[in-house]
Point group: C2
Chain length 541, copies 2
């Protein structure tokens, strides 16, 4: 028997329609690439987005066509987002930090027809223009006066939409229609595209709005430092208009001084970014003896929070830190570090220990861990296994079928992470499956070793990898990049680990390098390290 | 082009599964009909619900079959809820306050096969047992020791499930499958059944969880005074487990002393009920000089909030009042009185004035007002029109097609209310469409007149109805029930209205009655009043 309820397709255009009707005056504040700050509203954004839709339709863009952006966070980027998705086309947010060759490869693979970009990235686009096989229209986020010279025949965004109708039919297609495309840059093979649907994005939006998730309301002011080209904009391009929260868009300037200025002048209450950004901000705050009186919550994801950042926000600035874990494939919200009820009143060290873990999944995300034979493992907070995830906003595969079938027979997606889960559902990542070091049949967590090693003041960065060992199969080698002007010894580094990890986890050797290689998203490139150290001989082997 | 995201049907069994995995220790505290307080957990509720599923399957209950309850709020009622819905059967929550004849009519119309009820209602069930044509199994929420004697061959709930397996496959059907049935008792014609789907209930749950809606988190303690048989339990039977909030179930005792005891001993943070309950609580608090230190939010719906209740909670007890409007047909959340951003820092009178309105719809609910020709009316906060609603958790019709097609060609549902909407989406109900008084072609709001009249200390209740007038078509008659021991005069009542309504809205006469008739849900029965006063002659006519 079917329920007798309305057929109301979950399409993202309804989110901006809601913002227009309920929160037309709420603001989107943008720091433009030119440095000046401009203000608009959800009411205006709605109209501009409709104009984008009409401009796109004039370019022949319709259902399923891909429209790419290479853009910083801005109100214009938001208009490109809704203008594209509203007509059933697919917004492809390209990460401009990728190698230009990779950008070209991705744009060709996605068969993007239009590219809208910030002039910051003009040199990149000019450099690869000969390789871009499908893009017919280039648009630059600029007006007549700020439009740069170019050899692309590009049009200024403001002129492109100027005078167009603000009327255009949105929605009116199935909720499973694709709306967004975001490539993950794996360390092996070509990037793979995650193709979000209207349904998955609307459901993700509703999930993020709950109190224990991001929990924003109409009277919040949200500063998404996390770029819109990272993992579906962490959902913020959708959840802010859905609630009516003001948005503050930092554009290209994410240094401590610039972010502080926005936090302070716009009275930001919630902000979100990767740890690196917060390190810059905290340094700036400390050097200038500043406080954060308006900010109530900082959402930190992308990589694990270092303890000093967590404690600085919570203890020095009285800002609630929500550690979040997710992937491009999870839209991206997977878990959140909001304290579980039994720890809300715990002592500070217990709370901080909990908050260093990746957190708990909200309703809508299912997690479990399995062993190498794909058998369920206990939720005891100790046993580690491969982390699988299931939910309405979790990828079922990749664009064009790349990577093949990625779900198991019960519909679970393998995250590639190794984690434990406790009886309250708190998940803690202990390693990447491909980075795990297997010694004598047992797993050693490279992440644990690295996190402790970087706590030494003489260490700037550290990476643990497995090196072949005739007896144990693999033993850990710790690779260290010294802090500027420092020369730590092997003994000093190993002493740092003593008593904090199981004795058999202790690396067999420490190697020093000038610089630990990082990938496009700032994570340690272990593939490169394994290549460099492939013939390394451990002293004990 | 379709997105490539997981097919994860929105079924309500996933909510309790989530509670089990994340918040197994969070509690459901019940005051039983015997008066004692018992405690269980979501982990236990999950097991008991699975046992209910297995008991129902043994009764031959499966997909689409209706299981009825006549029950107070309790953990056992929650187990009946999830045990029924989990296997794709339909939980039909019958309102025990209806006339027994109407209960029998509804049970027969729904073709309920099982009836599970509190022993409070045994006399009702015994009285109508001969009329119940489809119910084969009677279960009483009781154990061996508290089971009453009966002539129904009823079984005690605890014995019914005792020893059964806690394993049972849930879900695994389309998300549009029916899961709940709730009849609306109109003042005319037979009751009509609203048939909720798994999808509508899951989406409603997500919407209610957002900060500006009910906004509960895992560390909240929620006391739903509103009975589960009222309008889909206001969604609380779903949103509490979805977040992990503790539930405190008041059973049959909703007097001021009993509710205060639970608020205090269980440290309740959020509670929800109709105004009548709060009047009883506030009287008790005042008489005993008590405070509400734990409570942070009270959700008030079912009928408009009287200003004295609003001000008492907000000003005397520092509890945030969220005025909510909805209907059985809207699952029921339609609007919420959370302050819009531009009024958060307004003076207290402005805030109170705003909070007396019905509030703003969350994302997921669309509202508009239309004139008699079904043309859209402006959102200016003044123009009144028929209120239409659209959304994923709004009824598209009634069970068995009763009432025919209820949606217009664009899918809007007519609420039967008359309202205005302002530029921020704040909706204010000015009347029921069928109660509106039409004088000289213009509408007079009966509700406005009544709300002001009951502000007079000598007035207990008041109802305005239209009486035939040869010149104006209709003119208002105000019918007054005096407060105990009081004898207000016509002049005193009309003086109360002076300056607060347009002069031409002033009732042409005031009639006094011993008691204003109320319907089953506590609302004024205007149909009865119109019948009583159908030959009334106005002095000015």
């Amino acid at each position: 028997m079917q329920g007798i309820m309305q057929d109301w397709p979950l399409t993202v255009d309804k989110i901006l329609e809601h913002a227009r009707l309920q929160n037309a005056d709420r603001e989107i504040v943008t720091r433009r690439v030119e440095g000046n700050i401009v203000r608009t509203t959800y009411g205006e954004l709605y109209n501009v987005s409709k104009q984008v839709s009409n401009a796109l339709k004039d370019e022949g863009i319709g259902l399923g066509d891909r429209v790419a952006t290479l853009g910083w966070n801005s109100a214009r980027h938001m208009a490109a987002w809704y203008g594209t998705m509203g007509i059933g086309a697919v917004l492809h947010t390209i990460n401009p930090r990728l190698h230009p060759e990779q950008i070209a490869w991705i744009a060709n693979h996605a068969e993007d027809k239009v590219l809208i970009f910030d002039k910051t990235f003009l040199p990149i686009v000019e450099a690869i223009k000969g390789e871009l096989k499908t893009i017919k229209t280039f648009v630059i986020f600029a007006d007549k006066d700020t439009m740069p010279e170019n050899s692309l025949g590009a049009v200024a965004f403001d002129l492109w939409i100027d005078g167009r109708s603000t009327t255009c039919r949105w929605g009116d297609f199935p909720e499973t229609t694709a709306c967004g495309l975001c490539y993950t840059s794996g360390t092996t093979g070509n990037p793979k595209g995650v193709l979000y649907s209207h349904r998955s994005n609307v459901l993700h939006t509703l999930v993020t709005m709950s109190k224990d998730a991001m929990g924003m309301g109409a009277d919040d002011v949200v500063l998404p430092v996390v770029p819109m080209f990272h993992a579906n904009a962490w959902g913020l391009a959708l959840s802010c208009p859905a609630t009516g929260a003001n948005m503050v868009m930092p554009g290209a300037q994410m240094d401590g001084a610039s972010i502080y200025e926005l936090l302070d002048t716009e009275k930001v209450t919630i902000t979100a970014a990767v740890p690196t950004v917060w390190l810059m901000l905290l340094t700036y705050l400390q050097e200038n003896n500043l406080k954060l009186p308006h900010l109530r919550k900082v959402i930190i994801g992308g990589s694990a929070i270092p303890e000093n950042i967590l404690r600085a926000f919570e203890q020095d600035y009285e800002v609630d830190v929500v550690h979040a874990w997710g992937m491009t494939e999870t839209s991206p919200l997977g878990t959140l570090g909001t304290l579980p009820p039994h720890l809300v009143d715990a002592d500070v060290d217990t709370r901080m220990e909990q908050k260093l873990k990746q957190g708990r999944p909200p309703f809508g995300v299912e997690l479990k861990i399995v062993d190498d034979d794909h058998k369920d493992l206990p939720r005891d907070g100790e046993t580690s296994g491969r982390l699988l995830v299931r939910g309405a906003a979790i990828a079922a595969g990749y664009f064009k079928g790349d990577g093949g079938d990625v779900l198991d027979e019960d519909g679970w997606f393998d995250t590639g992470d190794v984690a434990n889960i406790d009886q309250y559902g708190t998940m803690q990542i202990t390693d990447r499956a491909k980075d795990v070091i297997k010694s004598g049949g047992e797993w050693i967590s490279s992440i644990d070793i690295e996190n402790i090693a970087v706590g030494h003041p003489k260490v700037a960065n550290a990476a643990a990898i497995g090196i072949y060992h005739p007896k144990w199969d693999e033993r850990p080698l710790l690779i260290v990049q010294a802090a500027e002007g420092q020369s730590p010894t092997k003994e000093e580094v190993l002493e740092q680990l003593e008593g904090k990890i199981a004795k058999w986890w202790t690396p067999d050797d420490v190697a020093f390098v000038d610089e630990i290689p990082l990938g496009a998203t700032g994570k340690i490139n272990k593939l490169a390290l394994r290549e460099t150290f492939k013939d390394y001989k451990l002293p004990t082997a």
